[in-house]
Symmetry: C2
Subunit: 200 residues, 2 copies
DNA sequence: TCTCCTATGTTGACAGTGGCAACTTGTGGG
DNA sequence: CCCACAAGTTGCCACTGTCAACATAGGAGA
């Protein structure tokens, strides 16, 4: 419109708006390959405005990934808050929450684990592995302490559990684990296999 | 140079040259986010020449991914060619070959499983899951037939095995499975866990 | 051998991108 | 009230993917 925008010259909260707009665009067809200019357009500012809040596009992507890790950790912690009856129940709850998060947010999950975000740009991304891994390590340690799990090296077991959850999430997002190919409840089957290896 | 290139007007084998050049560029820093114009420059042709062999950039990426799946399947088949003493040995050989392939070719492996290649563009990508999955299914079937593996639903077990191998590969490529975090031989630990679940 | 059609190159253009510099408009602190 | 800084805008550059029109072979058929 020829008439000036009624937004004042200073947006007031552009950093948050850019992040939220980018999060919305993650849900769209191009996933994290949206353009920063389109983010700026939707935020109602010029194409260069986001550069006052993020050094470059990669920094915005890193921020999105970091928020994703925050949310993942929060959901896993939430799943373990309720008193659980056994190490097995803890393990299953954490794993199912993990996979549920990834499959509910496929583009975000891909971004979180793409090589394209600059891990040096955001300390939270360094903590990414630490967070998920720490939860799993804790579950296995408690399981071994209670006698429910075999006393194998904890970190190797935790790596296996994380690899299984991560791999399952990625393959599901890719559409590689269709029911007609892998049966109706492949996650349950996968977790049972892993548990049979873990349990005494 | 002002002097004309000594390459004749018709390249003669440009499609193969574009593929090979792109494969080389996959090994470089930008991974599969190389530009088609740079591929054309390195191939010594104009920026539009590749469009006579590939409808668009995505089609070239799909071709690279398909060749990656060919190579992966070939390497797994090669690992299983030698007579193996047990179902366990088969399982370990296939899994280790899988992870070895992915960690030796990180950018190619990421491309193979990125959501960014158009699966409709190449029938081999549809077969991607079929190939790896068929190998794993075969190993588990043979293991169950010989009595080495428990008689659980095969496809669920195969899905678990694939998820573990895939997840382990992706996390390794991401640098998330450093030895100081997960111990010296995390893949061996992971495979042992899964095998303890599989074996009778 | 010639002609014609197709394959496969090239050139030029378009619309868009990421990101930078210089400038403009507030805002807040002293 | 003034000034320094934050946070906007405008304009530009070099590059991209892709398309259309044109140029140059190459091969098949008469």
């Amino acid at each position: 419109m020829q008439e000036k925008s009624n937004r004042p010259y200073h947006h007031g909260d552009l950093r948050r708006t850019v992040i939220e707009t980018a999060q919305q665009m993650l849900q769209e067809e191009k996933g994290w390959q949206f353009t920063l200019r389109e983010v700026a357009r939707r935020a109602g500012v010029s194409h260069a405005a986001p550069y006052k809040h993020f050094p470059d596009k990669s920094a915005l992507l890193a921020e999105l990934a970091a928020l994703g890790f925050d949310q993942l950790r929060s959901e896993i912690a939430g799943a373990l808050e309720r008193p659980l009856r056994s190490a097995r129940a803890e393990f299953v709850a954490a794993a199912k929450t993990y996979v549920q998060f990834g499959t509910a947010n496929p583009s975000l999950y891909r971004l979180m684990f793409s090589g394209d975000v600059d891990k040096a740009a955001h300390v939270k991304l360094d903590e990414a592995g630490a967070g998920a891994f720490a939860e799993l390590t804790g579950i296995i340690e408690r399981g071994q302490a209670s006698g429910a799990f075999k006393k194998h090296p904890v970190r190797g077991q935790a790596a296996a559990a994380w690899a299984l959850a991560h791999g399952f999430t990625m393959l599901t997002i890719d559409g590689q684990l269709m029911a007609e190919k892998v049966g109706a409840k492949p996650l349950d089957a996968a977790l049972m296999s892993m548990l049979e290896g873990l349990e005494t």
